[in-house]
Amino acid sequence: MNILIAIGGKEYSKPTLDLGMKIANSFEATTTIAYVGKKISQFSEKDVSVVHQNLDDRELYRPGVRTLEWAYDFLESKKYIKKNDSSVNFNDNLIIDEENSRMRVLLKGSHSNKIDLILRTGEIIDQLRSEVESNSHDITIIGGGGNKGMHHKLVQFIDSSVMVVKNYSVNKKYKILLPVNNSLGSNKAIEIAQQFAKSKKMAVEIITVLENKSSDKELKSILKKTEKKFTNAGIKNNITILEGDPVKSVVKYAKDDSLVMLGVSPKNPILKYFFGSKPISIAQQCNCPVLIAK
């Protein structure tokens, strides 16, 4: 499994990194930490590139490198990664391999985990989409600081599951909130939730929302099956049936200590683009981390 963690400024990236690495470790996944720098106008892109090469030569690294260094130190301090050679520091390891708008910060020393540090410059959706496409990432994890439109575009255009880390506290104890339905995306969300809950010994609240439709019976049956699946796997869980509008019900039910995991909408992409979807609305309105599985 491949996981992509997109980080921005140092102050706001701690929760994203922490939760991202917890998920990555639970899947024993290869992790890419990507910093997407500011978009450069085509008029100046070569000039900026020349200046950045110059700065690297003088050890005055471009801002993204320092953020990646901070991320690396943070992960080491939290023991998410372990350096095999403690005498080697970040600067000694640093080599920047540049190919167009993507740069790999190579680390010469050996490490216990497979971590790639990537610097990209450009429009964020475009860069993350390109990163996911070229490296087949399964989950993209990003902080919740961006605007709502950005989260919409991420879910719409990035070909991986997307997690928006909003209002996450590193030291708080979380439980998974798993809204289930009859979509393919929901099955994927159940898989991810099961693996993560088992690895981190987390409790799971499985819910479904009935809308007085013909599918209500099927939803109840899915809820029961999911409960059985988690119980058989030895995961502490409880089930709840809600009624009404799915978005309002889930948003109201989710608490600050919830970690919502739900499936992507099977709706037509054109409709989704212009009118949004239930999972996108939930991710935008919930005040806690939300994963939309694809």
Binding site: G37, K38, I40, S41, Q42, F43, S44, E45, K46, D47, V48, S49, V50, V51, H52, N54, L55, D57, R58, L60, R62, P63, G64, T121, D126, R129, K153, Q156, F157, P266, K267, N268, P269, I270, L271, Y273
Partner: protein
């Protein structure tokens, strides 16, 4: 009958490949919406009747101009694609025959853009910043404020001859070295960093107005003047007009920055940097000596032989000498030269020529004068401030050289016998103080992550306004004495 929404819902039941295709198309649309918009706008305008007084080719050239403005501002397609589209449309819409378009595609201004970009890469590749840092420390190292003033002055002088994209690449490492470990969370530290970065940036931006070789826009305007008017201006003549403005602007910029970023400068590490620079061995670097000789030779040639050989050919000579001497490889130049920008300038200059040839610029000027006539009567000649502010503002959202290549013919048309109009337009377009997209310098300091667009605009507004006032006063009271 099925409604559109019903139809889309029916499509839901279709297979996954439909969803992938529609998702890809949506992504394409979301990325290219400004391209779609500009095409639709062009089609709409083409279907309207030609405005009275304007020829059909002239009208079509203005439609292409509008498309280019939209595409360059929002960048939905690569610059080389915009350049090719400009050329293709000129022929397809009957603005000019293919031979005429091809002939206007290459001239000395385009050669200058190409030569100066390649020359800049060759110079930056020599690593002259440490040697330059030694000179600045020797001359201005007595106090921190003097050092920053020196950084700004040296940046301006060098940028006036070698162009801002060359000098910002050399000077920025010096500026960043002295603010390397400053804590920017505290106001004093943050202001010290901003003061340093803006000193370098404003120095290079202001410097670029000083001589024709300071920026491509200057050469483009000289070229247009030669083609469209009887006025002729050489290297020295330009300097006599522009350098005093540069000096006054530098003084104003120094005080504007002190006012905008009050700081004690206690965190700036001049001493540490002085020691570091002293340790670095530059004494026996033969490349530095040769580089300096080549640079001096090229600048002298610009002074003495610009009329004989053209500024572009001389700039190309500079890059050529560096390559022949083996001081820079073709691979380095090829990798770092922005060929897209060269193509775009060539295409916009070609369009600029057609706007003039088809009479579109005269028509625009006529409309401009009609608009001015509607203003309340005043002793002031309003066309000058309008033109200077318009080019200055446009350059901030569209970059200076592209602005001059498209609006230059109209600025000349306003007063074909008065040099002050054309010169003011070229100089005002160099006031790229408002937005980070306006010049390579602005974009480079923005890309460090230490300067926000908001800060750039706030300080820039003060600088832009004072620069326009300085330009007006100089054109009114100093240029008339020359």
């Amino acid at each position: 009958m099925l409604s559109f929404l019903d139809l889309l819902n029916k499509l839901d039941s279709m297979n996954e490949s439909y969803k992938i295709i529609s998702s890809s198309m949506l992504y394409w649309f979301s990325q290219k919406k400004w391209f779609v918009f500009s095409v639709l706008l062009a089609i709409f305008l083409l279907n309207l009747s030609t405005p009275i007084g304007l020829t059909v080719p002239g009208y079509h050239s203005l439609i292409i101009l509008l498309m280019v403005f939209t595409l360059v501002t929002f960048e939905p397609i690569p610059f080389p694609a915009i350049a090719l589209l400009t050329l293709v449309l000129q022929v397809l819409l009957g603005v000019a025959p293919p031979d005429v378009v091809a002939a206007s595609f290459m001239n000395d201004a385009v050669l200058f853009v190409m030569g100066s970009l390649m020359f800049a890469i060759a110079i930056v590749h020599q690593g002259l910043d440490i040697r330059l840092a030694k000179v600045i420390i020797r001359l201005f190292g007595k106090s921190k404020r003097l050092f920053l003033a020196g950084l700004m002055t040296i940046s301006a002088i060098l940028s006036s001859f070698l162009g801002e994209h060359t000098i910002i690449a050399i000077m920025l490492p010096i500026g960043l070295s002295v603010v390397k470990n400053i804590d920017t969370k505290q106001t004093d530290g943050r202001n010290a960093v901003l003061l340093t970065l803006f000193s370098v940036a404003y120095g290079t931006i202001i410097g670029s107005i000083g001589t024709p070789s300071g920026g491509a826009r200057n050469v483009i305007m000289i070229n247009y003047l030669q083609e469209f008017s009887s006025i002729h201006i050489d290297y020295w003549e330009w300097m006599k007009h522009a350098y005093p403005i540069l000096i006054i602007q530098l003084i104003v910029a120094y005080f504007v920055l002190q006012f905008a970023f009050p700081t004690t400068l206690k965190n700036i590490q001049i001493q540490g940097y002085k020691k570091k620079v002293a340790k670095s061995n530059t004494r026996n670097n033969i490349n530095h000596l040769f580089s300096s000789i080549i640079i001096l030779f090229i600048v002298t040639c610009w002074f003495l032989f610009n009329e004989q050989f053209g500024l572009g050919i001389i700039a190309l000579c500079g890059a050529l000498i560096f390559m022949i001497c083996g001081m820079v490889s073709w691979e380095v130049i090829n990798k770092n030269t922005n060929w897209g920008v060269i193509l775009l300038f060539a295409a916009t200059i070609s369009l600029g020529f057609q706007i003039n040839e088809t009479g579109a610029s005269s028509w625009m000027v006529e409309k401009f004068n009609v608009m001015l006539a509607l203003m309340p009567e005043s002793d002031l000649n309003l066309s000058w401030p309008f033109m200077a502010i318009l080019t200055g503002l446009t350059a901030n959202f569209f970059t200076s050289s592209a602005t001059i290549s498209l609006l230059g013919p109209m600025a000349i048309e306003l007063q074909p016998t008065d040099i002050s109009f054309a010169l003011s337009a070229a100089i005002a377009s160099g006031f790229s103080f408002l937005t980070v997209i306006s010049s390579p310098t602005a974009m480079i300091i923005y890309s460090t992550g230490l300067v926000s667009t908001k800060t750039f605009f706030k300080v820039g507004l003060l600088m832009f306004t004072s620069s326009i006032v300085i330009l007006y006063l100089m054109s009114k009271f100093y240029w008339v004495t020359l």
